[in-house]
């Protein structure tokens, strides 16, 4: 499946379609918190990360998440879990996004972009 990079609206129906074609209940996404874009549709978060890096993103601004379309509108819509998040240089030593202020920024960015 082709990786898509969104810089404006993403509709829930688009995510539902990607989920149905790929992982069933979730869509892997990587957000650039600085450029305010989101890549979706990759088999690996690292594939999406690479696409954003090739487009000029800096790795320190990229965070991997999983989106669950069926849980849109709830806290469970976004899951902070990705291999690309392990970044000791930024004091992030697990697959999660450990900095709660960064989690909040990611939630806000995704919230701004998502449309039902």
């Amino acid at each position: 499946m082709e990786i898509k990079v969104f810089d404006k609206e993403i509709y829930l129906s688009e995510l539902e379609k990607i989920a149905a074609e790929q992982f069933g209940d979730l869509v892997k996404a990587v957000v650039d918190i600085e450029k305010k874009v989101m890549a979706v549709g990759g088999e690996l978060h690292a594939d999406e990360e690479k696409q954003l890096l090739d487009g000029g993103s800096e790795q320190k601004n990229l965070w991997g998440i999983n989106l669950y379309p069926a849980k849109f509108g709830t806290e469970e819509f976004i899951e902070f879990d990705s291999m690309i998040n392990i970044r000791p240089s930024q004091n992030n030593r697990s697959r999660s996004v450990e900095d709660e202020s960064m989690q909040k920024k990611i939630r806000e960015l995704v919230g701004e972009m998502m449309h039902e």
């Binding site: 149905a20 074609e21 790929q22 992982f23 069933g24 979730l26 088999e43 690996l44 978060h45 690292a46 594939d47 990360e49 690479k50 879990d81 291999m83 690309i84 392990i86 030593r93 697990s94 697959r95």
Partner: protein, 99 residues
């Protein structure tokens, strides 16, 4: 061609997930020997994924997954992993959806 090396990435990682699932179940049940055997098989399969020339441009995440699995089952769990079954199960599910 060996059948594992003929699989897609989703299928290969799904297979790894089966062994990881066994290792995690054994870990939860306190069966250290079974855990180590299944984890060893998981790492062997992951090494074959890493060695597959088709995935060379996508090695970063695969190698990282391998290192975290090794750290979790054989190391000190430096990266505070809480398990991998969900991570690998996604690939197994995706490979079935693609059929």
């Amino acid at each position: 061609m060996n059948s594992f090396e003929g699989l897609s990435l989703l299928e290969q990682l799904g297979n790894v997930g089966s062994e990881v699932g066994r290792a995690e179940a054994a870990k939860a049940g306190g069966d250290k020997e079974k855990e180590q055997l299944a984890a060893t098989r998981a790492l062997d399969l992951l090494d074959r994924v890493v060695a597959d020339p088709r995935w060379r441009p996508r090695l970063k995440e695969i190698v990282r997954a391998r290192n975290l699995v090794a750290d979790y089952f054989f190391g000190i769990n430096e990266f505070n992993s809480k398990g991998f079954e969900k991570y690998f199960y996604q690939f197994a599910l995706a490979s079935r959806l693609k059929r």
